[in-house]
């Protein structure tokens, strides 16, 4: 069984994002970038399925600029077998990404596509569902448990107020939640080994993909909270919270 894992390179979760001077984008120059944390769960999930003997090959794919080599290398060090970069001139929106992934899925014919439930930059949570629709495959979003057997995937999904279990016909697209697993810590030997694994680069122009896009008018920080007060003791705090009517 082959698993394709889609990953995205995003501003590291520890960094506070800032708008660029022209207010049309988020500042990405000289900012630490990392693999999208939920995508890291997806890579971990795929590698564990391979280690369990359920999957035979794990292929990671990223859609974006040449800089994505570093997150692909990270996924290879985690245990993915090979990597594909669909190289675009800039970061693309979800529908465009889904169409490139559709093209790669049609070429690679995996049994399963895994990806994070959302990317922590645009927070759109759209690409996996869009890809499933374009391929006319089954889908499960926000997965916290995945079991594969007899050509089906049994998936526990995180839903509002609880969990739901669904059984999917393969091939399928599954987006994963934080609760699926804890991604492994990459040790130096794994990093060295990953340097020998192949990364194939495919120019975006090789695929005849076009998709409508949203026009960005403004990227801005939300209105600031009113300035806070430093209090001296618990008595003052309780009085303040009662005055705000958030404590009885």
């Amino acid at each position: 069984m082959k698993i394709l894992v889609s990953i995205k390179r995003v501003v590291d979760y520890q960094i506070r994002p800032r708008p660029t001077q022209d207010g049309l984008d988020v500042e990405l120059s000289n900012v630490k970038m990392s693999i999208n944390p939920f995508d890291e769960n997806a890579v971990e999930g795929a590698v564990r399925l391979k280690e369990a003997g359920v999957a035979s090959e794990v292929v990671v794919v990223a859609v974006g600029t040449a800089a994505n080599q570093d997150v692909l290398r990270h996924a290879l060090a985690m245990g993915a077998d090979r990597a594909i970069l669909i190289e675009t001139p800039s970061v693309v929106q979800p529908l465009t990404a889904a169409k490139y992934l559709q093209a790669i899925a049609q070429r690679e014919t995996p049994d399963l596509v895994l990806t994070g439930k959302q990317a922590i930059d645009d927070d759109a949570a759209e690409t996996a569902q869009m890809l499933a629709g374009l391929l006319n495959w089954s889908q499960a979003t926000f997965a916290s448990n995945i079991q594969l057997a007899d050509g089906r995937a049994t998936v526990v999904r995180e839903i509002d107020g609880g969990q739901e279990t669904v059984s999917l016909q393969l091939p399928a697209v599954i987006s994963v939640d934080l609760r699926l697993n804890e991604p492994r810590f990459i040790k130096l030997p794994a990093l060295m080994m990953a340097k020998k694994k192949p990364i194939e680069t495919v120019p975006a122009a090789d695929f005849a993909v076009s998709a409508p896009v949203l026009t960005v008018l403004q990227i801005a920080e939300p209105p600031a909270r009113k300035p806070g007060k430093i209090l001296n003791n618990v008595t003052e705090l309780v009085a303040a919270l009662r005055a705000e009517k958030v404590l009885p």
């Binding site: 979760y13 520890q14 506070r16 994002p17 939920f38 929106q93 529908l95 889904a98 922590i120 930059d121 645009d122 927070d123 949570a125 759209e126 690409t127 996996a128 569902q129 869009m130 499933a132 629709g133 374009l134 089954s138 889908q139 979003t141 926000f142 049994t154 839903i159 509002d160 107020g161 609880g162 969990q163 739901e164 279990t165 669904v166 059984s167 999917l168 934080l178 804890e182 409508p212 896009v213 949203l214 026009t215 960005v216 990227i219 801005a220 920080e221 939300p222 009113k226 806070g228 007060k229 430093i230 003791n233 618990v234 008595t235 705090l237 309780v238 919270l241 705000e244 958030v246 404590l247």
Partner: protein, 312 residues
Amino acid sequence: MSVLVIAELDSHGIKAATRSAIRAASQLGEEVHLLVTGNDVAGIASEATKIEGLSKVLHADGPAYAHGLAENLTPLLVQLAANYSALIAAATSFGKNVLPRAAALLDVAMVSEVIQIINATTFVRPMYAGNINATVVAPAGLRILTIRPTVFEAVAATGGAAALETLTATGETGQTTWVSRDLVELDRPELATARVVISGGRSLGSAEGFKATLTPLADVLGAAIGATRAAVDAGMAPNDSQVGQTGTVVAPELYMAFGVSGAAQHVGGIKDSKVIVAVNIDADAPIFQVADYGLVADLFTVIPELEAALKA
């Protein structure tokens, strides 16, 4: 043209989040229709005609719609889309699951988690866990939106008089089978919807220390317990208690952070809270920049004092 809102049902009927989506839809300045799908839900569809602000309720019934599976629902949405200028649902786990699939099939660049409607094509949506707001324009033609239900006040469940129209169901695709659903009955409030959340950072020291320190105060406050990513990574708190950009985004009336430094990813997940309190021994901790009230003090002294004060 009109705007179509996709209803989400639970055991009580139409969810309040759907009525928030109707409020948002009405801001587009066109007639608003509601699509009610499910298995044997004629009663709910007829009840829905009373919802404020609707001119028509469309009702499609069948076992294929029983559990809101995206694979079964999207063919119906694709079929209906030709008659509408916009498809809208609340950004719940249901709306987020279904609408992007429909958007791809309709070749529409959708706008997710809208928090403000500026005009019929211009919307504000949060990015980076609310650290950034983006104002975006959707291309001309069909618009597909999910809206954040907490920022649009739900319309009234009664008082309206919409027409009711029955549609032919599109049927079962057989791709996905629903197995079961477990809604959690917690002995304390759920993190995402709790009125009060108290959370702790790595300075609580250990899993035992974390629990022993925060639980008694949570009991007094009727609060959910959250944790920073660092505390979760250190094994002090369970995975699902992580508050922040990569965990649960919370918006309680009262958020109290104990020994939390205020990393960007954590702050991103709490900034819609009404009142934020920070207790940290380090006066320079970034959490104090977003807190409404701060105490520069040791959490291990503050927490028992707070408990005592609240019990008194």
